[in-house]
């Protein structure tokens, strides 16, 4: 087996904490590098306080084997070897470990704060600066021009051309992970559902899968089906909104106007299922709070078909226009090699030709029984990211049309067994932005001793920074929209 030294597990499963192999930290970091060298992908890498020291925990995905591999270090203090110089996908994880536990990744090239506060603003640290007579610096944000979350972008430009973009976040930090410790508390579900509030179904499903893995409870099939349906509705709404936003940024107004409305039509389908346009209060540990009965499913299907036809039409206008294609082609290109190196996930990775989709690589829940084909496009530019979204709208649509006719029926909620003590559990869900990863560790009473959320944006912000290299700064809006990453999902 490719990952023999690590403990192996599958998506949505749990292991006794003691079953994770442990090594002194130097050896542990070497073992992670070996796993990554074999084609593993770093899903999670974080510290867990243990007595006076900290243990590091790594979760590596072997996508082709449909397997996850986990291991931990012995508790330690002080420094540990940095993986970043050899495996850049670890860069932000190591910065986070440094910030949260005071451990130093020795050899990390750019050890800056992630989301730590400096009083009334995040501790941004020094920005990378390019010197030269023609160089100028452009600072954007935290408050941006539109109705959007805050973050700071610092461009180093030579005339129009961006030489370097550094992205500083942390403005949205609400203390989500800290608050989850000791839980589940009464506010836990609401905090999970708003961790990244336009990916509520993805995060709520990952959280429910953890609770079910910790309680060794299988949610009813009807609930698994409904979660899969809701996840695709979430994807359709957001992808449609993104196509509209991209159209708007190249001044192609017919598609922009149409998609703004059609996005709302998809959100209203989620509201038809659960009353809330963002899927709040639907997914619960043990299943779903509400059912999608036959009659309601038929109504949903009818309205879905109309919205799908509308978005197909609006997308066709846009793809037929040479002016749109020429603005998208060769703009903001990230190569497949770069994408693999920095660990991109979701549509951003698939738009670089990487076949990387949790629904396909690590199927859990209903995706063990039904799947949509993975949408991939090779060119790595804005064109590819828009194209992957269009393809995913078609495939999610076809998946839903098929699934809505075949509800398994039965109850939607299974009583949950209390969570196992001292247990490590992992859940991955392919949200519309990509891999949503939740990892929990329980204490001897079965409460959360540690809870880690990795929104896809955590992996992908670096992709946007790379996409801007050598671009005209005026292309920033379309590059940014083509990624459309979450600020609060990153800041937590």
């Amino acid at each position: 087996m490719s990952a023999s030294s690590f403990a192996l597990l599958t998506n949505g499963s749990a292991l006794p904490w003691g079953d994770l192999p442990e090594w002194p930290v130097d050896r542990f970091v070497g073992e992670i590098a070996a796993q990554l060298g074999r084609g593993g992908r770093l899903c999670a890498y974080f510290g867990v306080t243990d007595g006076p020291g900290t243990r590091l925990v790594a979760l590596v995905a072997f996508d082709a084997d449909n397997l996850l591999a986990a291991a931990r270090s012995e508790p330690f203090t002080g420094a540990f070897p940095s993986l970043t110089p050899s495996h850049p996908q670890a860069h932000l994880f190591e910065r986070e470990i440094h910030e949260q536990h005071g451990l130093t990744p020795a050899g990390h090239p750019w050890l800056k704060p992630v989301r730590r506060s400096a009083g009334r603003a995040p501790a941004n640290g020094e920005f990378f600066r390019v010197d030269g007579p023609e160089i100028h610096e452009v600072a954007v944000g935290p408050i941006h021009a539109g109705i959007i979350e805050p973050g700071h972008f610092r461009f180093q430009c030579d005339g129009e051309e961006v030489i370097h973009l550094e992205i500083a976040l942390g403005y949205q930090h609400r203390g989500v992970e800290r608050a989850l410790v000791g839980g589940p508390h009464r506010a836990t579900q609401a905090q999970i559902e708003t961790a990244s509030g336009d990916a509520t179904i993805a995060h709520a499903t990952a959280h429910a899968m953890l609770a079910e893995a910790l309680g060794a409870t299988e949610p009813p099939l009807q609930a698994q089906w409904l979660r899969a349906v809701a996840l695709e509705l979430e994807r359709l709404a957001n992808h449609t909104g993104d196509l509209g936003a991209l159209a708007n940024d190249v001044a192609f107004l017919p598609t922009s106007s149409a998609c703004g409305k059609i996005r709302g039509d998809f959100l209203n389908l989620t509201a038809l299922v659960c009353g809330n346009r963002f899927g709040r209060h639907l997914v619960r540990a043990g299943g779903c709070r509400l059912d999608l009965e036959t009659e309601r499913a038929a109504t949903l299907l009818g309205r879905l078909k109309t919205a799908l036809a509308d978005v197909e039409q609006a997308a066709a206008w846009f793809w037929d226009a040479a002016s749109v294609r020429s603005r998208f082609e060769n703009t903001g290109t990230v190569s497949a090699a770069q994408a693999a190196e920095i660990g991109l996930v979701g549509p951003a990775a698939r738009a670089c030709g990487l076949v990387r989709d949790v629904r396909y690589d690590h199927p859990a829940g209903w995706h063990r029984l039904a799947q949509a084909p993975v949408a991939v496009w090779p060119s790595g530019d804005v064109f590819a990211r828009a194209r992957v979204r269009t393809l995913e709208i078609q495939r999610s649509g076809a998946f839903l049309v098929e699934q809505l006719a075949g509800a398994p029926g039965g109850p939607t909620l299974e009583p949950l067994t209390p969570p196992a003590p001292d247990t490590f559990a992992v859940a991955l869900v392919e949200g519309w932005r990509g891999e949503v990863c939740h990892v929990a560790l329980t204490d001897p009473a079965g409460r959360f001793r540690h809870y880690k959320i990795i929104d896809p944006s955590f992996h992908n912000w670096m992709g946007l920074a790379l996409a801007l290299r050598g671009q005209a700064i005026s292309d920033f809006p379309i590059c940014n929209k083509s990624f459309n990453l979450s600020y609060c999902g990153f800041d937590l």
Binding site: S117, A121, G146, Q189, T194, G264, R280, L290
Partner: protein, 268 residues
């Protein structure tokens, strides 16, 4: 070719902007439930079934008194409605819930308080803003849902521009701030700079449970428990997130742009 297609399709679809507020308001989704109402007289002696299920501690009950519901903290999860044995807490189905004073969101209790919908601005401000209101939106820890349902008001279905309301990029061009999120510590400086840049007289509109009270993050040291902790809020629009119709109602209510029936009467 696509030009012809686009135009013909556009003509076929006609005007997609809703009639509201001239016509009836679009229906809320049937599972939405709308605002909540507390009939405190129904609360059974000593019952506290609703208290532990509320994720944001929006419900409180003092000994010997009926239950109190703070709609400003509520995420509208319906858990209290489902668990209440006496039907003291019920959905009204009404999308209207914007208020001018924070205390008007506190329902029930010994004096059986009902939701008091917000009144319009005074005449001087109405003359200034009534036909042209420019807002700078600031997300300060918002989860992107309140932002999205504010943004949607600019789409063709809602067409906020027809009321003279517009979201602008610079606070210097704005008549006020529309704030979402619990106001994180890390956004405090940026929010206050934006506020200082808005010329007087200026308004503050708090949208969503987070901006009103801190929502699911109330009490976290990383947040300021809502906009009112730093700024004078003129309009509170509850929800998690509020339905776009609730936000639009709040804005029109503030500007006195609703007719008498829509603005004050309670729907059955």
């Amino acid at each position: 070719m696509f030009v012809v297609d686009t135009l013909s399709h556009r003509l076929k679809r006609g005007c997609e902007t809703m009639d509201y507020p001239r016509g009836p308001a679009p229906a809320l989704p049937d599972r939405h439930g709308g605002a909540l109402r507390v009939d405190a007289s129904k609360c059974a002696e000593g019952c506290s079934a609703c208290l532990p299920v509320c994720p944001t501690e929006a419900l409180t009950r003092k000994a010997g008194e009926p239950v109190v519901l703070d709609l400003g903290r509520c995420t509208f999860c319906s858990a209290c409605v489902e668990v209440c044995p006496e039907n003291s807490i019920t959905h009204t189905g009404d999308h209207r819930m914007a208020v001018r004073r924070r205390e008007d969101l506190v329902l029930g209790g010994p004096d059986a308080r009902e939701l008091v919908l917000g009144a319009a601005l005074d005449e001087k401000l109405r003359r200034l803003f009534g036909r042209s209101l420019r807002l700078r939106q600031v997300s300060a820890g918002g989860c992107a849902a309140c932002e999205a349902d504010t943004n949607v008001l600019g789409t063709i279905g809602w067409d906020l521009g027809r009321f003279g309301i517009q979201f602008v990029a610079s606070p210097r061009h704005a008549d006020g701030l529309l704030i979402t999120g619990p106001v994180t510590q890390n956004m405090e400086l940026a929010l206050m700079k934006a506020w200082d840049a808005v010329p007087e007289p200026k308004l503050v509109i708090a949208v969503g449970a987070c901006a009103i009270s801190g929502g699911p993050f109330v009490g976290h040291p990383e947040v300021r428990d809502g906009a009112a902790s730093l700024l004078p809020v003129d309009l509170f629009i509850p929800g998690c997130p509020p339905h776009p119709l609730t936000i639009l109602d709040g804005l029109l209510r503030l500007l006195d742009r609703l007719d008498g029936n829509e603005s004050s009467a309670r729907k059955a």
